[in-house]
C-alpha cells in the first residue's frame, strides 16, 4: 500500500516561501493566483498485511512522532491500494 503524507504549515503560521512563489507566479503573468502555500509530500511504502484503518492509525502516529511538527504544521494522509 502506498501512503502519501502531506505536511504543511498551519494557516496561522506565515509561509514566506509560499509568498515568494505567489509573487513569482504573478511576475510570470499568472494573475489568477491569489495566494500560495508550500508544503512537503512524503511517500511511504507500507508493508502488506495492514488494512486501511490500521495503516492510517500507524501513519498518524508517525506524523505525531516525526513527520510533522504539530506546533507549526498540519498533515493529511492519503492511502492508495497497491
Amino acid at each position: 500500500m502506498k501512503a502519501y503524507v502531506h505536511v504543511y504549515l498551519k494557516r496561522a503560521v506565515l509561509d514566506p516561501q509560499g509568498k515568494a512563489i505567489a509573487h513569482a507566479l504573478h511576475e510570470l503573468g499568472y494573475k489568477d493566483v491569489k495566494a500560495a502555500r508550500q508544503g512537503k509530500m512524503i511517500e511511504l511504502d507500507i508493508a502488506d498485511g495492514l488494512n486501511k484503518e490500521q495503516a492510517e492509525e500507524s501513519i498518524r502516529k508517525m506524523c505525531e512522532d516525526l513527520l510533522a511538527n504539530t506546533v507549526i504544521e498540519d498533515y493529511s494522509i492519503t492511502l492508495e491500494a497497491a
Binding site: L9, L14, L66, N69, V71
Partner: protein
C-alpha cells in the same frame, strides 16, 4: 572543575567553539558525547552546539531530536541538569519538546550571517549571573531558520512568566521591527524552560569571545555560567 558535556550529531560544526568557550572562560572540562551513545554521563551542564545536524533533513533538528542520546537528555532534563542549546541546539531542543515553540524559515528567506544586538530580558540564575535585565550584547547570528514562532497563548506564557531570555534589539537596546533579523515573534532570540534550567538561543555567544571574532560580549555569558555552576 565543572564538567560540560557537549552533544555531537553528524553535521554539527560549532562543538569546538563552544568547548573553547567553556574551557578558556569557564575553566571547565569539556567532553564530547556522540549521538549514538546511550548515556551522557555526569554533567554540570549539557550543551547542544550549532551546525546542521543530519543536513537539516525533514526539519531543522527533527532527526537529532530522535537520536539515541536524546532519551538520556530528557532523563537528565527531568532531573534538573542544566542544558544550553545554541542555534541548531535550540532547534533540537524545541523539536524534543524541552523548550516551547518552533523555529521557522527566516521571513526574508535568506541565510543570515552577521552581528546583531540582543537585550537580556529574563533572569535565570544559571545563565545570567553576570548579565542584568536590559543589558545589550553584540553577538553574531548564522542561520537560515531562526524565525521563532509560538502560538499566541505560548508567547503570553513566556512573557507572563519572564521566560524570554533575549530579544533582538538595536544598539541602544530598543526592540524594533528593524532590529528583528528573521521575523521572530516579538523579536525573541532565546528562551528559558519553565524551570529556568534550559536556555535555547539562536545567536552564537561562543563566537563573540575573542577580539578576532569582532567582539567579546559573549564572555560575560560564559563567565556568568561558570560562576553559577561553581557556586
Amino acid at each position: 572543575m565543572q564538567t560540560v558535556k557537549i552533544l555531537v550529531f553528524p553535521g554539527i560544526n560549532r562543538e569546538h567553539d563552544i568547548a573553547h568557550a567553556f574551557t578558556r572562560i569557564g575553566n571547565a572540562k569539556a567532553d564530547f558525547v556522540w549521538h549514538k551513545d546511550s548515556t551522557i554521563g555526569k554533567a554540570d551542564m549539557i550543551v547542544i552546539p550549532g551546525g546542521f545536524s543530519y543536513g537539516d533533513y525533514l526539519r531543522c533538528g527533527a532527526m537529532a531530536a530522535n537520536s539515541p542520546i536524546i532519551r538520556d537528555l530528557k532523563d537528565q532534563a527531568a532531573k534538573g541538569v542544566p542544558i544550553l542549546g545554541i542555534c541548531n541546539g535550540f532547534q533540537i531542543l524545541v523539536e524534543t519538546g524541552l523548550l516551547a515553540g518552533a523555529l521557522l524559515r527566516n521571513n526574508g528567506l535568506k541565510f543570515i550571517c552577521k552581528h546583531v544586538f540582543m537585550r537580556a530580558e529574563g533572569a535565570a540564575d544559571l545563565f545570567t549571573a553576570n548579565i542584568t535585565k536590559g543589558d545589550v550584547l553584540r553577538v553574531p547570528i548564522a542561520h537560515g531558520e531562526g524565525n521563532y514562532y509560538a502560538a499566541p497563548d505560548t508567547v503570553k506564557h513566556l512573557n507572563d512568566s519572564d521566560l524570554v531570555a533575549f530579544r533582538y534589539c538595536d544598539a541602544n537596546g530598543a526592540v524594533t521591527p528593524e532590529s528583528n533579523p528573521n521575523g521572530s515573534v516579538e523579536n525573541i532570540a532565546g528562551i528559558f524552560s519553565d524551570n529556568r534550567k534550559i536556555l535555547g538561543m539562536m545567536p552564537h555567544p561562543e563566537n563573540a569571545i575573542d577580539a578576532f571574532h569582532g567582539g567579546t560580549d559573549g564572555i560575560r555569558l560564559f563567565e556568568g555560567i561558570a560562576a553559577a555552576l561553581a557556586a
